[in-house]
């Protein structure tokens, strides 16, 4: 429990003393009706004990604005209880709409799958309590079983600060632009303006949706890619003095311990329990240190990268465990996780020295396996809390270095695995996908809309940008975490697609002409075809299909767009006879179809 109230309010009150008189609300008037009554007291009791960030917290009840509703607010309330004649609240709440809690400025051009993503509303009112029952949300298109225009507000799980609703699985939203409209009121009856929010629904743009099924990552700690006739990961343990060739039994114990620590630390990055079982909010991925066979991704852990001594890791795309080439830890030690880079990056850092130097002979330490107490402190069931001081000290040194090593390696594994799953810079697969550290600044997930790199400790920041404490989550620094955009991708397949530059209406295709003058093989010259419709955006592509079969290749060239007309040339030699459906596809992925629109004669 907090012990000290916020004194700033009192100072602020004094500072206001010489200010101009103004109409104001009474502190404690939580329903904004101009008086502090039993109704307000009842409201305050409902918020008592909450703090900012709690689902039940209301800033209107935090009378001294210290982020807690506690005895200090109650004391202030007591001073105004029973007063009336204050100003009535006329200020509506603030309201923001987004998807999956993504706060970025670019969140209104998100591309989402046809179901299972989360609509998140956040709102606040420092004058009066928000009336969560007043929430109204509508969509301009059907949302699963809910017809366009119907009120979805009742479907949301609403608290004082936010409301969420997951679009039901199987909703099959139209692959086009959708607009939501939301509003909410406070208890004084002040409603927000209708807040619009648009997003684009598409099928996943590259090689199928990731993480639809549970993906398995085999962490391979047993490779000798450095060709030294020794397993790279054992060389790492010796390099950091977490083991020694002096005692191979103890080295085996340390290897097993460190690997289990790594596994227990990598799973929580993806919302899973340390043992890999699903948590309340987890991504569909699990790690193992033994080869499960079948479809899996493989990430080799150990040694030094051939790309350079400061490369912590590298990975290639392997969504849905589908890239078999990835499984071979290709190109020597080009791809993988490389613990030896830690030394190159952070050996001068006090945190690094504090963790590893107690085991380092050059600094008076003793490697694990060479100390007289190691056999005792590494015996299964060893309890440091009841051990002699010397054993406690030795245990502490080993545990501290193990903690640092395991946490950093786990962080790098989580980072590289996320690249494998598609969290890399924008571009065509496999060069890039959804959210790395380079690429077009205004569309990059690790920079703000203005293009400046934020200071948050995000997991997908580049390896070299982390300080030792940041990547290890030690010395009071919280460990890295996924940016909301990245997590939304892993959880619900939300992406920022560079091809989507705005929220446009879908195209329509109303006519194709001429419809029957194309004669297959009848002429060596291409035939001009005119397409009429609406919503064509520079520059659309046109496809021909029969009965849903794949389009004929390269049938249209030199497309020109003029308002609601597009022209192009069809080569009669490339289009077999038949009655074709014509599809127009805008650059943002939206498609319109005109059935049986083009006849190619024999």
């Amino acid at each position: 429990m907090r012990a000290i109230c916020n004194h700033l309010l009192f100072v602020a009150m004094l500072a206001l003393a010489s200010g101009p008189a103004a109409a104001i609300m009474l502190p404690g008037d939580l329903n904004g009706d101009g008086s502090v009554s039993l109704v307000d007291e009842g409201l305050l009791s409902g918020f008592y004990g909450t703090e900012a960030g709690d689902a039940g917290f209301s800033p209107a009840a935090d009378l001294n604005d210290d982020s807690f509703v506690d005895v200090c607010d109650l004391a202030i309330f007591g001073q105004t209880a029973g007063l009336s004649g204050g100003d009535v609240d006329t200020t509506p709440p603030t309201l923001a709409v987004t998807l999956n809690d993504i706060p970025d400025g670019m969140n209104d051009v998100l591309v989402v799958p046809p179901d299972s993503f989360e609509i998140t509303l956040s709102y606040s009112d420092s004058e009066s309590v928000v009336d969560v029952g007043s929430l109204v949300v509508t969509s301009d298109r059907d949302l699963g079983p809910y017809a366009a225009g119907s009120d979805l507000g009742g479907e949301f799980v609403a608290t004082q600060g936010r409301a969420t609703w997951i679009v039901p699985a199987g909703s099959e939203l139209e692959r086009t632009t959708h607009f939501l409209t939301a509003s909410i009121s406070d208890l004084a009856g002040n409603a927000t303006a209708a807040v619009p929010y648009g997003f684009a629904v598409r099928d996943h743009p590259v090689s199928g949706a990731p993480l639809e099924n549970l993906q398995t990552v085999f962490l391979d700690f047993d490779q000798d890619r450095s060709l030294t006739n020794e397993i790279d990961f054992l060389e790492d343990l010796r390099f950091y003095h977490l083991s020694s060739t002096a005692d191979l039994e103890i080295e085996a114990v340390m290897r097993s311990w460190v690997i289990s620590e790594i596994l227990e630390r990598v799973h929580p990055f993806f919302g899973r329990n340390p043992d890999g079982s699903a948590g309340a909010d987890s991504a569909n991925i699990v790690f193992t240190d033994s080869d499960p066979g079948g479809l899996r991704s493989r990430l080799c852990v150990g040694g030094q990268s051939t790309q350079g001594p400061q490369f912590l890791g590298s990975a290639i795309l392997d969504m849905n465990n589908a890239n078999e080439a990835q499984d071979d830890c290709l190109f020597g030690a080009f791809y993988g996780v490389f613990p030896q880079a830690m030394d190159d990056l952070w050996s001068g850092d006090p945190g690094y020295q504090s963790a590893f130097w107690p085991l380092h002979p050059s600094f008076g330490g003793t490697p694990v396996g060479e100390h007289a107490l190691d056999a005792a402190v590494l015996t299964p069931g060893f309890d440091p809390s009841t051990a002699p001081t010397a054993q406690q000290d030795r245990w502490s040194d080993i545990a501290d270095a193990t903690d640092a090593f395991a946490q950093i390696v786990a962080t790098v594994i989580a980072h590289e695995t996320s690249h494998m799953l598609g969290l890399v810079a924008h571009g065509d697969a496999p060069g890039g996908l959804f959210g790395g550290d380079t690429g077009t600044p205004e569309m990059d997930h690790n920079v703000s809309l203005a293009g400046t790199t934020p200071q948050q400790n995000y997991l997908m920041n580049t390896g070299g940008s982390f300080g030792f404490d940041e990547i290890s989550g030690r010395n009071g620094v919280a460990p890295p975490a996924f940016r909301a955009m990245n997590w939304a991708y892993l959880k619900n397949r939300l992406v920022l697609d560079p091809s989507l530059t705005g929220l446009y209406s879908p195209p329509t295709l109303t006519a194709v002409g001429p419809t029957s003058t194309v004669v297959y093989g009848g002429s060596s010259e291409s035939v001009l075809v005119v397409f009429q419709g609406t919503g064509f955006r520079a520059t659309p592509t046109f496809e021909l299909t029969i009965d849903g079969n794949p389009p004929a290749a390269a049938v249209l060239s030199e497309v020109l767009l003029t308002g609601n007309y597009a022209t192009g040339y069809i080569s009669p030699f490339l289009v077999p006879p038949g009655l074709y459906d014509v599809h127009v596809r805008n650059p943002d992925g939206q498609v319109a179809t005109l059935a049986d629109a083009l006849l190619v004669q024999p």
């Binding site: 109230c5 009192f10 004094l14 502190p27 001294n64 506690d70 109650l74 007591g78």
Partner: protein, 169 residues
Amino acid sequence: MRRRELPLLLVACALLSGGTCVETPDPTPVTATAHFVFPGGTILSVGEIVQVQLVVDTDGMPVQAADASVRGDAATSTLLAASPDPAFDDNGTLFLSPVVDAANAEIRRIVDFRHGAPAAPGTIPIANVTLRADVAGQSTLRFSAIRVASSDGVDLVVTAVDQAFEVIP
């Protein structure tokens, strides 16, 4: 945006004894002591039910609100309920319904406040706890948490004093 703090300024200024509203208040914490008062002494008989007062002695500051949690000794006694003390309470009810946690021999969230004028400095009984002596032996009643706020919404620094008592057959 309007500043809702302004009316409180007027209230708080009135409470400053002879002061003006242009100076920063003294940040020196005001102290208080919280303790228990057993109505008939600290020797109870098995089966006896008593109302123990939760008392705050303040050092010159009026008290507007208090929030306490108390813990007993499940081996010898049972904490049954908490209620407002008329000397502090002005409407006959606690602000919240206290949480009686029998498993942990604890009552949490004993919260009350005064509407309007605060309780004057001095000895202030803020609430009562109903306790039943169950088994003979030595026992202790403790504050597991205690916060007290003055009329300007400032925490008092509270020293909590446990109270030993004896249960006899």
